[in-house]
Every structure is written in structure tokens, then in C-alpha cells.
Symmetry: none
Amino acid sequence: MEPAPPPCVVLDQPQLAENIGAAARVMANFGLSELRLVRPRDGWPQERAWASASGADWPLDGARVFDSVEEALADRRLVYACTARPRETELPVHTPGEAARALSAAAAQGLPTAYLFGAERAGLETRAVALCNAILTIPVDPRFRSLNLSHAICVAAYEWRLTVLDAPPEAFRDRAPPAEQEAMLGLYGHLEEELEASGFFHPPEKKPAMVRNLRVALNRARLTDQEVRTFRGVITALVKGRGRTLERLARRGGPRA
Amino acid sequence: MEPAPPPCVVLDQPQLAENIGAAARVMANFGLSELRLVRPRDGWPQERAWASASGADWPLDGARVFDSVEEALADRRLVYACTARPRETELPVHTPGEAARALSAAAAQGLPTAYLFGAERAGLETRAVALCNAILTIPVDPRFRSLNLSHAICVAAYEWRLTVLDAPPEAFRDRAPPAEQEAMLGLYGHLEEELEASGFFHPPEKKPAMVRNLRVALNRARLTDQEVRTFRGVITALVKGRGRTLERLARRGGPRA
């Protein structure tokens, strides 16, 4: 199956070219590419937008400019208005995750969808919100509600991206596997033998608990085969390295007190 | 019950004051307030940070500056490194949501936690990642991975906020909490000093990678304070115990060949 076409991002009367560039950048991070601008304050195109997109040029290169929100949304079938003032209309109010899942379900049926964002300071006018099907509200801390425009887009786009991913990317799954238990037992045996020789297990009746505690701590680390070898090298080095120092001293006439 | 203390945000060598301000703003949006700066490139404080925080002054007013990541993390017990290059170490790799839930569970037990972010361009050095307990990777589109620093913080902080809103169940784990980073640094220092003395780090140019691998493996174990003490006892025993054996042998006329 073709992947669902991502929602487009519609910015109503954006003020700063830097914010349009930052929007394009975070859209690209999360797999959105279609940008629509309704009456950008300083005109379009603007070089500063490309400068702040850090290479995410394609949403800017392909951006379309509209005279009204109505025109920008004309071909869309499911539109979420992103606003911090959800009570002004009687539209359903969804979290970013709910909105992303609804948009994803619509997109999977081939429906064109959109997120609509307002200007940096003023946000969306109620008139523009009323053109939408539902409201997306970002759950900010009520003590500080003022979201940067590109941060609002970031949250919406991130949630969209989660709907695209069913599982973490492949890259995360190929950690080296944990060592076989046999290798771990070899490591424990080595460590415990050396600790026994050094008088660590004192008093003797506590040895079983001490052994168990050491094994539990090392087990939690889920060591790889390579790490098991490294730790065995550590034990050998600690025991023999210092031993060699003392051997040299002994040959010269005994260790220091 | 007291609400869990939110994680602090540690920025390693941030470059632009505007980004520090944007970080403070989005932290405040999602209920984070404690900001730590490790060697900010242009010094601290900087007016432009306050200008771009749009009124979210308190994370900036309270920001603490550190000379090293080690110092910035010294009192933390669960730290997530935010990096796009999860394969460089053998730490577990979590999504932003998984990380937030783990941090929330730790915070619910009253444990101090942190998110660690790298510089705008370079990201986190592997050495800094190796100080952390796990990795948070944001699931960006592989076609455009370059995240703005404040957008990365936005995603992490937004997911933290969701855990607060979801009123996560209290952690029922009755394990002792993980040790403070400072205690872990003490353990590493002890181990590395003894390994240095024993000639373990050979060839010398490999020492940084060897140190890192050991730290990562031990970090994954999330040792408790008691376990840290136990492992320090192990090191001492391995080094001195065998030494004592050799001392005894030396007094009797030299060690065996």
C-alpha cells in the first residue's frame, strides 16, 4: 500500500521569515513536506526563511501562497486548527496524539488533510478556526502557555510521525545481544575465585549473599560477549598488574611496609 | 503526594544564546524549570537568551553553569542522553515517550533526573553519552535528521508533560534507587586508576574508548549506592588482596615464578 499522504501545514499570516524556515525544518524532520502560507506579513519568498531551514529547502521551494484561509483549505477534507483557546467554538477538542491518529486514518483512505496554525502572537482568529473540523490543543503548563510557532508545529508533526512508525526504526534494534549465560558464569567464576583468594568474602557465612548481590548487579547490565571479555581482562589486570609491581619490589629486597 | 520533581535539562556547550532562550521557553511550556549549562560558548548570562525566552525567565534566572558534564550530572540518578547516533555505545535506546515514562517513574520515587543535550551542530560527544544511563532518540525521518536544539527539547519536554497529565501510577518497584552520578564517577575513577597502574590500558591511544566501554557497561547496571560500595570493595580486594599474598611470599624469600 502507498503510504498515506501527510497533512499539509497551513500558516495563517505568519510574521517572521525565520519562523517559516524553522517550521519547514521541523516539518522535514517528521516527514511533512507541503507548506501553505496565507498572506505572509513580509511577502514571499524571503531569503531568511531558507537560511533558518538548515537545508530543509523543499517545503519552502514548494510553498504555495494564498489570499485567504478559505482558499488554502479548499481542497482539504479533514483539517485540525491548532489553538490554545479551544472553547471559543463547539468543535471537538483533541490532543496532538488524537489529532495525528485521526489525520492518519483519513490519510490512509486517501483523503487530503491539513494542520492550520495562526500567527505568532495573535494565534488563529475564531473565523479561521470555524473553517476546521476539529481543534488540536497542545497540553501546555497553564503557568506558561505561550508556545513558539515552530514548537507547536514540532509537537503536531512529531505526533504525526509516531503514527507513521509502528515500531522504533531498525537502527535501534541491532545492539549486540547479551552474552550467553555460560559466558556470564565464566565471568562470575573468575571474579569469585579471585575475590576468594584475596579474602574478600568475610565473614564466610556471608559469602552466598555477597556472591548473589554481585551477580545480580552484573546481570542487570546485560553485558555483551565483548564486555564479558573486557571485564575478565579487568579482573586479570587488577590482580596481576599490581602483583607484577610487587614482584619487582620483592626482587629488589621486599615490598614497602 | 508531592508531584514528582521534573528532570533538569543539561545543555552541553550550547552555542547560541537564542537557542538557550528558546530552550527555556519550551521547558516552561511543558513544566520543566531547572536548566544547567556546561561551558556555554559565549559565556553566561547573555541578554539575548532572555529576549528569545518570551517571558519564560525563571529557567534562565536560575540556570547554573558547570565546567564539565560530569559536574553538571553529579547529583542526578537517572540521566537520558539525547542523541541521534544511538549506535556508538551499548546503552539502551528509548523513544521520547519511553524515556519520559522512565524518568517519571524515577521522579515519583523522589530521584533527581536529567535530560542531557549536546551542542547545536556537533551533538553530544560519545564521552558525555557514556556518563548517562540510557539514550533518548527522537524518531526523525531519515531523509532529514537535523533537529534544531529547541525542537529536540520540545519533544522530550512534551512527552514529559504527557506523563504528568496521565497521572502515572506510583512506582511500585521497591529496589533501592540508582546511585548518584557522583558516586559512579568515584567508582570509575577508582577502577581506572587501578587499571592504569596495572598496565591495562594498552595501547595508550585506545584508553579513551576502553574507559568509555567500561563506563557504559556499568551505567547500564544502574548500580545502587550499596552496589557501588561493593564494587569499590571488589577493586580494593583484587588489588590489595593479591598484593598481600605476594607480600607474604616476598617476606618468605620472593614470589613464585
